[in-house]
């Protein structure tokens, strides 16, 4: 039988906090997974297979996915097929969805985690760079993004005030979101006094790194039919990656455009503007929001429809970030979000990863 559509049946995440010293990373995974299964009203025995998402360098051990198998429920019953993705959690969710659409499984539990408080992200992301030609220079995620920020601001004629508006909006939205790690607005004085980290990037432009884990339960139409009280349907999903940052025009993000186009086609939509009611975008830095919106053709979205959860600016965990955006979108589509948004029927959720956001994954979710 054809698996038909895929639904998000349950969502869950670890208790939001920048530092979770009382819990190991596998314990955060367990927290997210149990919250997700409870949200879905599904027992681990019913789960078909598991896809985890982690980064060995972040966890400080190789094959770190094996360290979260038990926490994710892989040993339940006679043991479950568990597989792993490294990159953003939206890619793990895509893999999980594919396993359902191929007919292999009726459901997939997807979980991602990162404990930023345990490693040094400057050193971890310095290891992104080529060991022969680049690594000794000392670049990391922040200084590399500053190179892109200058090109994006120059190419799109953006000024500091434009970035201020992005940060102010994200933080204002996040203040009302109990699942955001940073739940506080930002004043003009804080923005103008924000220390310069890597010009043109100020501290306020950088999404703060947080410990976290997030989980989704995806299911086929038949699996969802009997169980899900409030399924959120996947209308389309796609991903794409651009060449390395020294071999592309950093003022654009063609991979995001391609991913959005593929997701739009899968959803059977003529265009995204006018169809997408709100977006949940993964931005590691404020300058990325205007670029992402431009590549999506969604620059005219109203303020309240851009990251109504507050987005990654209110706490970002590598790999978890995109799943957090899917969770925020699903909660809002289900009517669970604390601040209501009228006509929220179709959401675009997004994940990104790599130096200067080399890869992008786009999800279109609807009721």
């Amino acid at each position: 039988m054809s698996p038909g559509r895929v639904a998000v049946i349950g969502v869950g995440r670890s208790r939001p906090a920048f530092r979770r010293p009382e819990s190991g990373f596998a314990e955060l995974v367990h927290e997210a997974v149990t919250a997700c299964l409870e949200d879905a009203g599904v027992s681990i025995a019913e789960v078909g297979n598991i896809v985890t998402c982690s980064n060995d360098f972040m966890d400080g051990r190789t094959i770190s996915s094996m360290a979260v198998g038990d926490a994710a429920g892989a040993a339940a019953g006679e043991g479950k097929n568990i597989s792993t993705v490294e990159g953003d959690g939206t890619l793990a969710a895509y893999y999980g969805m594919s396993r359902i659409l191929s007919g292999g499984y009726a459901s997939t539990l997807v979980v991602a985690h990162a404990k930023h408080s345990e490693g040094d992200y400057r050193l971890i992301t310095n290891a992104w760079f080529d060991p022969i030609y680049e690594r000794a220079l000392g670049l990391d995620w922040m200084s590399a993004a500053a190179l892109q920020a200058r090109l994006v601001m120059d190419g799109r004629r953006l000024c500091v005030g434009d970035l201020d508006r992005v940060v102010e909006r994200n933080r204002r939205h996040g203040a009302g979101n109990p699942e955001a790690t940073l739940r506080a607005g930002v004043s003009p004085e804080e923005l103008s006094g924000s220390p310069m980290m890597a010009p043109p990037l100020r501290a306020a432009d950088i999404s703060p790194l947080a410990d976290g884990a997030a989980a989704l339960l995806l299911g086929s139409e038949e699996f969802a039919g009997g169980r899900a009280k409030r399924p959120v349907w996947v209308a389309g999903a796609a991903f794409s990656a651009d060449p390395r940052m020294t071999d592309r025009d950093l003022s654009g993000a063609p991979a995001l455009r391609r991913a959005a186009e593929s997701a739009r086609r899968m959803a059977g939509l003529e265009k995204l503007p006018g169809e997408v009611d709100f977006v949940e975008l993964d931005e590691s830095f404020s300058y990325q929001q205007p670029l992402w919106l431009a590549e999506l053709g969604l620059e005219t979205l109203d303020d309240e429809r851009i990251n109504p959860s507050g987005g990654s600016a209110c706490g970002r965990s590598e790999g978890v970030a995109g799943l957090d955006r899917i969770i925020a979108a699903a909660r809002r589509l289900r009517g669970d979000a604390p601040v209501p948004l009228k006509n929220a029927r179709l959401a675009l959720a997004h994940g990104s990863g790599g130096p200067c956001a080399q890869s992008h994954c786009v999800w279109l979710l609807g009721n």
Binding site: E22, G60, I132, L137, G138, L139, M245
Partner: protein, 152 residues
């Protein structure tokens, strides 16, 4: 279970694994030429004519083996720049200035350090020139940095 005031033990450690990365023969020839002759030899894709610097052995777009390309540079243009105003154990010096630079005649860019009095002396599109290290051991640091080109 743990009470609210109970603190977890934290195991402090570090991972130190020695590596030896091969630059490949294409990369080695390039790095040796930079160090010994202070010249930049690119590679070129015979199909799409793209000029790679550092030289790539194969073109990622065409999956064709590259051939020896033209000599490029030594000047280039500054595509973007920044300065790390924070500390990092990865930094080779305090407050390094970084540039994304495309050498004249190349189609790809390189990341490297910039030598400048301040960021105010820099702008997108500025002509830059390489500064070579005195001892010239082959490796990326045989090229010490770039700086605004004299006369630019």
């Amino acid at each position: 279970m743990a009470g609210a005031a109970e603190e977890a033990l934290v195991e402090k450690s570090r991972i130190a694994v020695p590596y030896k990365w091969s630059a490949g023969l294409t990369g080695s020839r390039f790095l040796k030429t930079v160090a010994a002759e202070r010249r930049f030899r690119a590679s070129r894709c015979p199909a799409c004519e793209k000029v790679f610097l550092p030289p790539a052995r194969a073109c990622g777009r065409c999956l064709r083996d590259c051939v020896d390309g033209p000599e490029v540079g030594p000047r280039g243009i500054l595509l973007s720049f920044t300065q790390a105003l924070y500390d990092s154990p990865a930094h080779p010096a305090k407050r390094p200035i970084y540039g994304l630079i495309r050498l004249d005649g190349a189609d790809t860019a390189v990341l490297h350090r910039l030598e400048a009095d301040s960021l105010d002396a820099l702008r997108i599109g500025l002509a830059v020139e390489p500064v070579f290290a005195a001892d010239g051991e082959p490796g990326v640091l045989a090229l010490r940095c770039f700086r605004p080109a004299v006369g630019s």
